[in-house]
């Protein structure tokens, strides 16, 4: 039986989520009505802040399902009770991210055209199926976990979800990987990089939501379980950092990539903001400090590790946004080199670092997507039993 206090809290959370989502929708309406001229985007930077939010959410959605996969597919008992929450978060983040992506289109009224006309050479066309299919598969997966008679189907459903999300995240990374035009993209490494990034961002998001839910229910996460998840998160972050390092290191060996790498890594020729975001935002705040917080025996790996792990998870999310900003926007503001070895200038921004300042409607749309994900999570948790039940699992057995 829920207490009046619980009911009040629920409605407050739902109202908050609803309000944030509504503001996001209003921002999208404003953008559609007047055109993208009301945003900071222009013909040099066509994908702005909404894409940073949307891609973070979609990648995190894929990664958050990892928790369920480790339980269902790899049979780790500690993760099994967490699988339903992981499925719910996957759906919530995916729908939130898709909402932002679709509302940022120049013609969001033409989503029906996107649903009926397909060019299958385009990763975007596959994504229409991959993203909607993901939602369907996770719903079926959740059903197999909640419906006792279908429990024995949860392993195959979990496997299907695992395979599907590998394809989905490969598709997300390949959106950029298949672009030969720009030095920031066009690399086969981007698909696996996005997969590893999804592991880290997804688990971090899961830990944040789990911590919040435990705090809300005045419960405590078992220390051994907490330590396991913290260690796993640390491994994912280290792996992400490794792949990012390999991408940049390889680029440094290609003379034609040199100017772009100096722009991003050293901040030369107008890249100051990008370099700052990369080194401080991603490497320091998003990777190195979280690694210390997660592995240090007196911090995340210690007896009171929960709040250090939560801090690390929050920093990892911040770092993820920073990395995506540098990746998506840094890759666009760097001048496209049509005439190598020449300086260029024109009326169309050739040869100069583009000017992009995120605008309020873009930020509100992005946050609106987070609000939608939050709302779906709050309603889902209220409607079904998503709280991880550890009572019968001994972490020592795991």
């Amino acid at each position: 039986m829920r207490s009046p206090e619980d009911i009040r809290k629920f409605w407050l959370m739902a109202a908050l989520g609803g309000a944030v989502t509504a503001v996001g929708l209003a921002a999208a309406h404003f953008m559609e009505l007047h055109g993208h001229v009301v945003t900071g985007m222009n013909n040099q930077v066509v994908w702005g802040l909404p894409h940073v939010f949307a891609i973070f959410m979609i990648v995190a959605a894929s990664g958050v399902l990892n928790v369920a996969s480790i339980g269902s597919v790899f049979g780790q008992p500690v993760y099994k009770p967490r699988a339903p929450l992981s499925g719910l978060l996957c759906i919530a983040l995916l729908l939130g991210g898709l909402m932002v992506l679709m509302l940022d289109l120049g013609r969001p009224d033409r989503v029906i055209v996107a649903a009926t006309h397909y060019n299958f050479r385009s990763v975007f066309a596959w994504n229409v199926f991959l993203y909607s299919g993901m939602t369907g598969i996770v719903i079926v997966y959740l059903w197999t976990m909640f419906e006792r008679r279908l429990n024995h189907w949860s392993k195959p459903a979990g496997l299907a979800a695992l395979v599907w999300r590998f394809v989905l995240t490969t598709g997300t990374g390949s959106i950029f990987g298949f672009l030969s035009a720009r030095p920031a993209y066009g690399s086969a490494l981007l698909a696996p990089l996005f997969i590893v990034l999804s592991f880290g961002w997804g688990l971090a998001t899961f830990l944040i939501v789990q911590s919040t839910m435990y705090a809300w229910e005045s419960r405590h996460l078992d220390a051994a379980v907490q330590r396991r998840m913290a260690r796993l998160l640390g491994i994912f972050i280290a792996a992400s950092l490794y792949l990012v390092a390999v991408v940049h290191l390889t680029n440094l060996y290609f003379a034609r990539q040199g100017a772009f790498e100096r722009f991003i890594l050293l901040g030369q020729d107008g890249g100051g903001a990008q370099a700052l975001l990369f080194w401080v935002g991603y490497v320091l705040l998003g990777a190195v400090i979280p690694l210390v917080l997660l592995f240090h025996p007196r911090l995340g790996a210690g007896p009171n590790g929960e709040r250090w792990t939560l801090a690390a998870a929050l920093l990892i999310v911040v770092g993820g946004f920073a990395w995506l900003y540098v990746f998506i926007i840094g890759g666009q503001v760097f001048p496209l080199e049509i005439f190598p070895g020449h300086v260029a200038h024109s009326s169309f921004g050739d040869g100069v670092v583009a000017d992009y300042r995120p605008s309020l409607p873009e930020l509100l749309l992005g946050i609106g997507g987070l609000g939608a994900a939050f709302l779906i999570t709050v309603v889902g948790v209220r409607a079904f039993d998503f709280m991880p039940q550890d009572d019968f699992i001994s972490a020592a057995e795991a």
């Binding site: 559609e32 007047h34 055109g35 993208h36 001229v37 985007m41 222009n42 013909n43 040099q44 066509v46 994908w47 289109l105 120049g106 013609r107 969001p108 033409r110 989503v111 055209v113 996107a114 006309h117 397909y118 060019n119 050479r121 385009s122 990763v123 975007f124 066309a125 994504n127 229409v128 959106i175 298949f178 672009l179 030969s180 035009a181 720009r182 666009q332 496209l336 049509i338 005439f339 070895g341 020449h342 300086v343 260029a344 200038h345 024109s346 009326s347 169309f348 921004g349 050739d350 040869g351 000017d355």
Partner: protein, 236 residues
């Protein structure tokens, strides 16, 4: 009986509209569509391009209803890029537009197939199918595409454009399909006496452009990408 009458009443207006549309097709156009034997292309002689001259750009803007005083959010289908080689100091002035590649990356990435290549080599955007995702703008190695950021006014009747869609140089397809022989930019450059732009059928060995590219050295921009653009440059 009533059902047949209702059915007929519903179909009749549509059938009428088909007849009206067919009747409105300009004389001389073939209903078979673009000719696959043709490959439209352009030869730009940058040695004849003066720095600061924008006759081609002005003509393109007027022909297609584009903004004559562009801002960072305005569509620019054709622009002059002033370049200077860093090591030698040699300068050139280069008109750059959609290169109408034989292997267009913009066509590969378009989710709805709105970005497409016609049989005669012209790469276009179908404004009915474009959802404004801007993936083609990200994919283009020449920054040839523009996104329409705001409501448009004073449009040209033969050049459909719209807020929220992506667009680029069409090689004046509306003129070619009416039977005219050249693009607005090439015509303006020739009329002004510069003669820097030649337009024609690259597949026709007797055309002026085919003769010229056989005789003089020409290059394609970012040729290492192997996109085989239909636009060639001399003097770079």
């Amino acid at each position: 009986m009533a059902a047949a009458a209702i059915g007929g009443a519903m179909l009749a207006p549509g059938i009428q509209l088909i007849e009206i549309a067919r009747a409105a097709a300009p004389a001389g156009t073939t209903s078979a569509g673009a000719n696959p034997q043709v490959r439209w292309g352009m030869l730009i002689d940058t040695t004849k391009c003066a720095a600061g001259c924008t006759d081609c750009v002005t003509a393109c803007n007027a022909e297609n209803g584009l903004d004559p005083q562009p801002s960072p959010t305005s569509a620019q289908w054709l622009r002059k890029i002033e370049i200077k080689e860093i090591k030698t100091g040699r300068a050139a002035s280069v008109p750059v537009m959609c290169q109408h590649c034989a292997e267009p990356p913009c066509v590969d990435v378009c989710p709805t197939g709105a970005s497409f290549k016609r049989a005669d080599g012209i790469v276009l955007v179908d404004r009915h199918a474009c959802i404004g995702c801007r993936y083609c703008v990200m994919a283009c190695p020449y920054k040839a595409r523009s996104f329409v950021h705001e409501e448009l006014t004073a449009q040209q009747p033969d050049v459909p454009r719209g807020k929220g869609c992506v667009e680029g140089c069409t090689l004046c397809v509306h003129r070619l399909d009416k039977g005219e022989k050249t693009t607005a930019c090439a015509e303006a450059c020739t009329k002004a006496g510069h003669g820097a732009i030649v337009f024609g059928d690259l597949n026709d060995p007797t055309s002026e452009i085919a003769r010229r590219v056989r005789e003089i050295q020409t290059t394609q921009l970012r040729a290492d990408l192997r996109l085989d653009p239909g636009v060639r440059y001399h003097g770079l």
